[in-house]
Amino acid sequence: MPSATTILDARAMDRTLRRMADEIVELNDGTDNLIIVGIQRRGVQLAERIAATIKARNDVDVPRGALDITLYRDDLQTVGPRPVVGATKLPWDLEDKFVVIVDDVLYTGRTVRAALDELADFGRPARIALAVLVDRGGRELPIHADVVGKKIDVAPHDRVDVLVEELDGKDGVVIARRDDDA
Amino acid sequence: MTRRLLLQGGTLLDPSRRLDARGDLLIADGKVARLGGTIDAGDSTEVLDCAGCYVSPGFIDVHCHLREPGREDVETIATGAQAAAAGGFTAVCAMPNTEPVTDNQAAVGFIIRQALRAGAARVYPIGAISVGQRGEALAEFGEMVGAGAVAVSDDGRPVASAHLMRTALEYAQAFDIPVIDHCEEPTLAKGGAMNEGVVSARLGLPGIPTEAEEIMVIRDILLARRTGGHVHLAHMSTKGSVELIRWGKERGIRVTAEVTPHHLTLTEDACEGYDTHAKMNPPLRTAADVTALGEALRDGTIDLVATDHAPHHYDAKEREFTDAPFGIIGLETALALVVTELVTPGIIDFATLVDRMSCRPAALFHLQGGTLAEGSVADVTVFDPGRAWTVDPSSFLSKGRNTPYAGRALTGRAVYTIVGGHVVYRLGG
């Protein structure tokens, strides 16, 4: 029977996301040419929160996009019955833009690599940065996050789940530990 | 020297003499010498144990395709005659749609000779109605009968011309032979691959409506009435045809009919998955037709069972459904199918089976056999009505393997097939 530990509750998560929003604006030296792109699925909701904070703090509507990386996965040939592909929305010219990719958990780095491949098919931004709510280490590729909500240390067989109100009914970051070796 | 054969301990079943009783049968010099009760074997007599079996007049299949001359790659008269014997048939009639067509006395003679060489079941040639089966000029019925033909037919094809059918029925009377028609109205059936119905509509296959057969059935019956000739309707497949034959017989018209084991046991559903082993002409129809045909066999509206054994090369059937040729083999499964699907469920009894597979064919086609009367030719089938076996096409004596019954568990098997007093087939070799 797995046990679950809450790393961030709803309030802590909210504070962390606000701080991340500020860091992003700082990284870009402002809000000009900024585009926030969330990775399906929960990265999209987190991107929404971050953009809302930026709007509240800077009174600027930063464009929000979504990226579904299913078709760019490097393990697509072996993964079995196809996962359903979500929506990708990137209706702008990326030239001269500063794109910040937002994802919930950074682990092996393969998702981000797929997102970079996909972005390359859309255009050539001036700069791409990565913002993640949780960095759990365990990289298999040389990928690094520019903005990190929380860095944690977990065993490989543990799961880190980010919950968002829109999809899961509540906010939070939870570690599910497996007691048995299932 | 007298060659004697004693069939011991079986049940003698001869509906032509209302005989159905345990008893022995003694054969000498190729004829039935004595039958009934217990018979002493005596000297130089081979004894065959027939316990648990029926001993009946030999089965006769009046409709099969032996492919020789022309398609010896697919069947020869020898392999066909052996397959017939394995199926319990002591005689078969071979249809003339060979290459070249059997439409003259030399061709008829060739078949007779090949059959004698084969030394298995008897093979009686059927001559063509028209030269080359082209449906134009009559073939020489007299010459062909003189050489040994027992009937005429353009089977494979219908006799499309009513005029030709009429003259054939008139002309054939001089030789007292039946004219066999493959009833298929060509313009209705054209391009069709299976029965026209809901299955063909779903599979997207062109259909052959039942009327294609029935239109020719009533035509032939009316022409038989007009001419007084004997028309024999090949491989009936529809309920409508049965009704028309009944109509004709009620009026004393000389119409007789046959049905195949597959039309008695399969429906158009067998075509699912585009299985070419379910493709034949006339096509498999619906359950209502199957029921009507079984009933007609029981009450005699349909006179006999004939296999329409039609071997095809594996490659030929291994094709898109619309391209594959029509036809399946049937000599080695006929008895078991009739036993399993008609006798066991009680639609007909064994006496009727023997009547429809031996007595009637012999009578209608004026062939020897069809009876166990003393002095008659010793064409005898010994069959085990309860013998269970599974159909394995690779073990058939026929060269053909195109059967939809592969893997089926059936009951009923010929144990000995005796032709003119010679055992031409023993189960188990």
Binding site: G80, A87, R110 | -
Partner: protein, 320 residues
């Protein structure tokens, strides 16, 4: 483990409504890819797909080719005319040769009903039926469903009438199965000689007059009438067909509602459909073509899912 659709897509009749739903839903994101500047995703990179077309067809073949290339697959076109008998090489041999070359997927169009099934039964590769005789044309059926769904939002309860030569139409059959499984109400309309004799068993309404069909329907799927039908004695002339069954602006004007117009193409303008209808405001014929590529991408993508020898169990949660 096999894909959610099994090994092959041979028709819509064998599919469940869930499977059809999955294909339609999967096609949505694929529509977006065709709007991008770079119309390519690496999803089927390294897969080899053969388009085996025994019947000439430019539009379907091109549509499949675009779908394959936009998924980064390698495609080969083999065009061949005639049946096995005429060609010399049997369909069985063709199948075996393809398998020996380790082709991943075959898209086959053939003049014989059942040809796709014949091939699928004999090779390990995925087989997609691009039209077999008069049996089925599943991707066409699916793109018609998608087009209808785009317009109406749902398919359940929608009244769709298929007009024309249903007897000889694989598009009609696929549409009937697909629409019924998705809960639509289906009707057919055409000369009785061009409807299957057993059409009554299909659970569809049969209209003998096209005016009745137009009055009833929310959408018409208009089938192409082929010249050969006239010479084969099914109908007297194309001119009469147009006068009695043609979809014209006048007939549509008398309809109680706007009727959506679909046509699988290619059109015989002035026969089954008049130009001002085909090019009119209610025609979604071009949408059908666009959706065709997305549907085919979705089908290829779904079928390629799960090779038993390569698949590993999908891990719970996603690998980050």
């Amino acid at each position: 483990m096999t894909s959610a659709l099994g090994k092959d897509l041979l028709g819509l009749e064998p599919l469940t409504s869930e499977q059809i739903q999955l294909i339609l839903d999967t096609a949505e994101p694929f529509k977006e890819i065709s709007e991008r500047a770079i119309k390519k995703v690496p999803a089927l990179r390294g897969q080899t797909i053969v388009n085996l077309f025994f019947e000439a067809s430019t539009r379907t073949r091109i549509s499949f080719e675009f779908a394959e290339k936009r998924l980064s697959a390698d495609t080969v076109n083999v065009a061949s005319s005639g049946s096995s008998v005429q060609k010399g090489e049997t369909l069985v041999d063709t199948a075996r040769n393809l398998e020996a070359m380790r082709i991943d997927m075959v898209v086959i169009r053939h003049g014989a009903s059942g040809a796709a099934r014949f091939l699928a039964d004999r090779i390990v590769s995925n087989v997609i039926n691009a039209g077999d005789g008069t049996h089925e044309h599943p991707t066409q059926g699916l793109l018609d469903l998608l087009t209808l769904r785009d317009h109406f939002g749902t398919l359940a309860g929608r009244r769709v009438c298929i007009v024309g030569d249903v007897l000889h139409s694989r598009v009609a059959r696929s549409n009937i199965w697909g629409l019924k499984k998705m809960g639509a109400e289906v009707a057919v309309c055409g000369p009785r000689s061009l409807l299957p004799w057993a059409i009554g068993e299909f659970g569809v309404t049969v209209f003998s007059r096209v005016e009745e069909a137009i009055e009833w329907a929310e959408a018409l799927n208009i089938l192409r009438l082929q010249l050969e039908r006239m010479t084969a004695g099914y109908i007297p002339s194309l001119r009469e067909y147009n006068r009695v069954f043609g979809i014209t602006r006048e007939r549509l004007a008398r309809a109680p509602r706007d009727v959506l117009i679909l046509h699988p193409g290619p059109m015989n303008r002035g026969v089954e459909i008049d130009s001002d209808v085909a090019d009119g405001p209610h025609s979604v014929i071009l949408n059908q073509v666009t959706n065709g590529v997305a549907i085919r991408m979705a089908v290829l993508y779904l079928l390629a899912g799960g090779r038993p020898e390569l698949a590993e169990a999908a891990k719970g949660g996603s690998e980050r």
